[in-house]
């Protein structure tokens, strides 16, 4: 029984009257890749927001390595090992691709408050950043500004930032959305590599069934903010709730 890294306990948020996440209790173990599925608006991204602290919870707690982090801000949680990639691309548009990654590495190494050294003199950070870019095959574009990248490439950079952060808990929110079928595998292989490292745990929100089949050790299903199913892929995929509320009819027989 490997150790539990992340745990949410009755996690709830209301927007006005609308309960977007409804008392989700769930724990995530090291070396495990959990796919989170559910209809649009089920609360997947909001669940992430609550874990990473973007939105304050109305009720419930978040624990990292058994430690309660519900009260902490986004930045502190991140420093303790919660890493997050966003569903809607969210980068530093007018900085170069390289600088984007370099900033993350700098944050990871807590160099932010060094006032009187020259940033460029920290070559080790630059090399580290380049290494990450190679892994997502963006090194050729390193000097372009982000605004110049096509949508697909921005998605890849989004992933690159998370990898550069090297967290305990990886949270991917539809990493391959809008990525072309020849590019997607690059990212998926990366995620597979991360998975191989048994120290970490990975949360993956995805709508593409084939991706889930090939990567997930476990699936949890959210519906209208509540956790409605949790278990090994095959089983969960087969369940009615998923077939009904989520898959709908297969395309062909529309």
């Amino acid at each position: 029984m490997t150790q539990t890294l992340l745990e949410t306990d009755g996690l709830t948020v209301r927007f006005g009257g609308h309960v977007a996440v409804d008392g989700i209790s769930c724990s995530f173990r090291a070396g495990e890749l959990t796919a989170i599925v559910g209809p649009n608006g089920a609360g997947k991204t909001t669940y992430f927001n609550l874990i990473s602290g973007q939105i304050p919870a109305s009720a419930g707690r978040v624990k990292l390595l058994g430690e309660d982090i519900t009260g902490l801000g986004v930045a502190q949680r991140c420093r303790r090992g919660l890493g997050r990639a966003f569903q809607l691309t969210n980068l530093f548009p007018n900085l170069s691709v390289l600088e984007n990654v370099r900033l993350v590495i700098q944050a990871h190494r807590q160099k932010g408050f060094s006032l009187f050294s020259m940033a460029d003199s920290h070559t080790e950070m630059t090399t580290a950043a380049l290494a990450v870019l190679e892994r997502v095959r963006l090194d050729t574009l390193r000097h372009n500004t982000v605004a110049e990248l096509s949508h697909g490439n921005q998605r890849k950079l989004e992933v690159a930032l998370l990898i550069a952060l090297d967290p305990m808990v990886y949270m991917f929110d539809e990493p391959t959305a809008g990525m072309s079928v020849d590019e997607a595998p690059v990212v998926l292989d990366l995620i597979a590599e991360l998975k191989a490292d048994r120290e970490r745990t990975i949360l993956l929100v995805e709508h593409k069934m084939d991706v889930i089949r090939s990567l997930a050790d476990r699936i949890i299903v959210l519906h209208n903010g509540a956790l409605v199913a949790d278990g090994p892929p095959a089983e969960v995929m087969a369940s009615d709730i998923v077939q009904e509320a989520y898959m709908g009819r297969e395309l062909e027989d529309v």
Binding site: P39, G41, S150, G152, A245, G248, E252
Partner: protein, 240 residues
């Protein structure tokens, strides 16, 4: 089939100092769904933005219903009957869903029947009719963006990756909606990465590579020919 509703001839587009579209020739047959396919960064979005006019074509001609629109301002093209779903969805985050839809019906108030039909296709729109669009979920935003283009009768729809972030169930209903539009006689130019969707919806297809159209033909032909796909899009059906 009759004359194409839209045809591009040797269209070149620059963005800043970059020469992105390098001579695009493309016909969108009337009353059909044309898939625009290709790897990331080959110029699909740029093509759509050039057609609606957000990027100005440096040279070449764009003809719509036989009239040249290459130098028309954007609003004029829209009022000529072109609906546009941008890649970034372009929803007005500070406005409510209702206000987004009100604006979408540019030539008058939103027709209630059409609205209800859109509700059946994208149920969350009803649920969140009065909430701020910026608070919608990724998929819901995508739905709103598509619904907005459908708020009025259009004769040509330019749709950029509509299925990204949509759950399978919604994808199939949306596919149904697009078919419905087609049945009403509209033409659709659809950029899509989800090959299953492309296969299910497309009548004809055009594949881009480095700012040019490198292959056009029937979607069925492309779908049937794995080796062709491999060559054009580095994709093999086996993997999926």
């Amino acid at each position: 089939m009759s004359d194409p509703v839209l045809s591009l001839r040797d269209v070149h587009t620059d963005i800043a100092q970059y020469h992105i579209l390098q001579g695009v020739d493309l016909d969108v047959p009337r009353g059909g769904v044309t898939m625009l396919l290709g790897r990331n960064g080959v110029g699909k979005t740029t093509t759509l933005r050039t057609i609606i006019g957000h990027w100005k074509a440096k040279s070449g001609t764009i003809a719509y219903n036989g009239d040249e629109i290459t130098s028309l301002p954007v609003p004029a093209r829209a009022r000529a009957g072109i609906g546009f779903v941008p890649e970034d969805m372009g929803i007005f985050a500070d406005l409510t869903v209702e206000e987004n839809m009100t604006l979408a019906a540019a030539s008058g108030p939103l027709d209630p029947q059409r609205r209800d039909w859109l509700f059946t296709v994208f149920p969350p729109l009803r649920t969140f009719w009065h909430s701020e669009a910026g608070n919608l979920s990724g998929g819901q935003k995508q739905m709103l963006s598509i619904a907005r283009a459908m708020a009025e009768e259009r004769s040509l729809y330019l749709i950029d990756e509509p299925t990204k972030g949509l759950a399978p169930a919604i994808i199939s209903t949306m596919a149904g909606a697009l078919r419905e539009l087609k049945r009403q006689g509209a033409s659709i130019l659809l950029v899509e990465q989800n090959f299953a969707v492309a296969k299910a919806l497309g009548d004809t297809a055009a594949v881009m590579e480095d700012g040019r159209i490198v292959w056009t033909g029937a979607m069925a032909e492309l779908a049937g020919d794995a080796e062709l796909q491999e060559r054009l899009m580095g994709l093999s059906m086996e993997a999926h």
